[in-house]
């Protein structure tokens, strides 16, 4: 049955198209993919870097899963990550002296809170005023980038630069006590990776094992029926987006305190800080069938893709944008094959799967809301 194959075959299709592109650009696909594989998974250091890249992707992906199950399409990840990073950095700047055991949890929580707030706003607007979240989250991204640039160039800037007549918009070196400890020496595998995985597992339990998750999924699939059943629909929606933002905010914090430079820097764009995790996280979540557990797998896959991307660039001279293009293709293929899968599946109605450990498919368990985007309201 295609259901099984939908996602792997999407990946395959993308790789084939990628090979075609490389050929077109006069590079040898085999060399390219070998470099990509080795760069991503060859050896402990490579694996560490992959995990390092995967952590934020996983957190954002989990956030996407949660929101999506409530029929909210959160494409404000970029902004929420930035806000999380800022909140975390500000906290570290404020209490540099606190011991690690206190400061690390504190900055992570601060980041989570920062993202949560940035997510709660569109959530509230959607629930209360029926404002389409796609729009409000995108707008809030635009606000976030400016706020970030303002804070990093002004209030939070590293003043010691003045002595060398420079003002790069970046914080000073953040308190050592806030740095995320490296778990495997000689690699970049830091505590953040572990945290991300735990969060993903927690999210899975929340969605499919708790009454809150039940309510969240019910609201996502039918606001009317949920209201009729006496569920607090609006509150649930706000919570869903808030949690989604929280996960992204945590990702932001981890980006800062797990970074090599241990500062928060901006080049004027959100991407400069997030590395597009806010969007790639959507790909990751989708590739994980909008199920937090499978999202763990896909996050590491895409983390590897990103790490391998630079290796590919060095080896073949094909810009690492290829990876971005490929992930785009993966998304398109997954959602397209999803329809064929659905058709194939409806051939045997008995296969109306629920929960359980069936292979990854976009619509795992009951399908996520049909029109998260068409959604309701303007």
């Amino acid at each position: 049955m295609l259901g099984w194959l939908a996602i792997p075959s999407a990946l395959l299709g993308a790789l084939v198209l990628g090979a075609v592109m490389m050929l077109a650009l006069g590079a040898n696909p085999l060399t390219g993919y070998r470099a990509l594989l080795v760069g991503a998974f060859g050896g402990s250091y490579a694996l560490g870097s992959t995990a390092f890249q995967a952590a934020p992707l996983l957190l954002v992906g989990v956030g996407i899963c949660i929101a999506f199950r409530a029929n909210v399409f959160n494409i404000g990840g970029e902004g929420q990550i930035a806000m999380g990073g800022l909140a975390g950095a500000a906290t570290a700047l404020a209490f540099p002296e606190l011991p690690s055991v206190v400061l690390i949890p504190l900055v992570l929580l601060a980041g989570t809170a920062g993202g949560a707030i940035w997510g709660a706003i569109p959530g509230f607007f959607k629930a209360q005023y029926n404002v389409n979240e796609i729009l409000s989250t995108i707008m809030l991204n635009l606000v976030a980038v400016q706020v970030m640039n303002y804070l990093l160039a002004g209030p939070m800037v590293d003043h010691s630069q003045a002595s060398v007549g420079g003002l790069i918009p970046e914080t000073q070196l953040l308190s050592r006590n806030a740095w995320l400890p490296i778990l495997v020496p000689g690699t970049q595998l830091h505590l953040g990776v572990l945290i991300a995985v735990l969060v993903a597992i927690a999210a899975y339990l929340l969605l499919w094992r708790t009454t809150f998750g039940f309510r969240l999924r019910a609201v996502g699939l039918s606001r009317d029926a949920s209201a009729y059943a006496g569920m607090p629909v609006k509150r649930t929606i706000v919570w869903a987006v808030t949690l989604s933002g929280a996960a992204c905010g945590l990702a932001g914090s981890i980006l800062v305190f797990g970074s090599i430079s241990h500062r928060m820097v901006t080049d004027g764009s959100l991407t400069g800080f997030t590395g597009s995790a806010g969007f790639n996280g959507i790909v990751v979540a989708l590739f994980g069938g909008l199920n937090p557990l499978w999202t763990i797998v896909s996050a590491f896959l895409f983390g590897g893709l990103i790490v391998g991307g630079s290796a590919l660039q060095v080896a073949t001279g094909v810009p690492s944008d290829l990876v971005t293009a490929l992930s785009g293709i993966v998304v398109v293929l997954v959602v397209s094959l999803e329809y064929l899968r659905r058709r194939a599946r409806s051939q045997s109605t008995a296969l109306a799967a629920f929960g359980g450990a069936n292979p990854p498919t976009l619509r795992r368990g009951e399908p996520p809301p049909a029109a998260a985007v068409g959604g309701d309201g303007a």
Binding site: F52, V164, G165, S261, V265, D267, G275, S310
Partner: protein, 344 residues
């Protein structure tokens, strides 16, 4: 770009003084470019081992500006010095660049050039982890007191001063359009020098620099230039790899343009008056010689008009009034001889 060291580093103040002698930094002897490099070449040739050099740069190898100036320098010497060069360009995302730098270091490259001040904070963290790898960081005045970091910078204020004076003489509206990325390092030096030079000719001239906040955003530069033009500016200049945007405007409105970092004549053959060009070759030669000699860092180098690391290249495609040319030559000589003191 420029340094962003948290702890004020004494040598960071280096650019303050211009005369090579007075510089606290190690600078090549005035005549260095020709004979000294020959000598270096000799030593390079004798050392059979190829040196693995990696360049990590924020913009494209052919950006006609910051990155290209370094790429050209590398290419000009790699044969002579038996270098194996790897380049990762367009690394404007700092976090990604950090990973690239790190993996070069871990792959046994002897010298990793982090060509962009935004990479400073990364090097500060990485250098101690790779004590056997030599890092070069520019443009910056600080080595973070690390034994394996070389810093290099450009006194772009000197060329800026010369070109600013020319601009003032060319302008009829007495409004100059000056665009920078971020008020930092060679960009800030160039912009300040430019306005100083302009004011030295006409104290009343309007020279309000605009910083776009981005090294790479071409359209921001274009928009800034447009806004200047709509506010009567009739001579334009700018620094950073994003200037191509502004040059487009200069060409469209047929206004004089002054370039820096690399020659931009090809972008606007009839509008570029002159370009201040960085020549990093002498500095690279020194760094490589040092490395072969077992010294992995700890020195700061500065290119100046004086030591030949900076040159003003006039564009024949622009017919420059004789008096302006004369003024320029006079200033260049003055600065080279240390007679003219360019303010900061």
């Amino acid at each position: 770009g420029s340094s962003s060291s948290p702890a004020p580093v004494s040598s960071a103040a280096a650019p303050a003084s211009v005369a090579p002698a007075a510089s606290s930094s190690v600078t090549p002897a005035p005549a260095a470019t020709a004979p000294a490099s020959a000598a270096a070449a000799a030593s390079g040739a004798t050392s059979a081992t190829t040196l693995k050099v990696a360049l990590v740069a924020p913009s494209a190898v052919n950006d006609l500006a910051f990155t290209q100036s370094m790429v050209e320098a590398l290419n000009s010497i790699k044969a002579r010095y038996n270098l194996q060069v790897a380049i990762s360009d367009n690394q404007f995302v700092v976090s990604t660049a950090a990973n690239v730098i790190r993996s070069y270091a871990s792959q046994g490259y002897n010298l990793v050039i982090a060509h962009g001040s935004q990479y400073g904070s990364t090097l500060q963290q990485l250098a101690p982890q790779f004590p056997n790898v030599s890092f070069a960081w520019g443009t910056a005045g600080s080595t973070f007191n690390q034994p394996n970091i070389f810093a290099y910078q450009a006194n772009s204020n000197e060329g800026g001063y010369v070109q600013g004076a020319m601009a003032a003489m060319l302008s009829t509206s007495k409004v100059l359009g000056v665009i920078g990325p971020i008020a930092v390092g060679d960009a800030k030096l160039y912009v300040d020098g430019f306005c100083a030079g302009a004011k030295s000719v006409d104290p009343t001239i309007s020279c309000i620099p605009v910083y776009t906040g981005s090294f790479s955003d071409v359209s921001l530069f274009a928009t800034a230039a447009k806004t200047f033009v709509s506010n009567k500016a009739d001579v334009l200049t700018g620094t950073a790899q994003a200037v191509v945007g502004a040059i487009g405007v200069a060409r469209a409105d047929n206004l004089p343009w002054f370039g820096t970092q690399w020659t931009q004549v090809s972008l606007a053959p009839h509008n570029v008056v002159s370009s201040q060009i960085y020549n990093w070759a002498p500095i690279l030669e020194q760094i490589i010689t040092e490395i072969r000699g077992g010294k992995l860092g700890g020195a700061t180098y500065t290119v100046t008009l004086g030591n030949g690391g900076e040159t003003i290249q006039f564009n024949s495609g622009f017919n420059l009034p004789a008096n302006v040319k004369a003024k320029a030559d006079e200033l260049i000589k003055g600065i080279t001889d240390g007679l003219v003191n360019v303010p900061q």
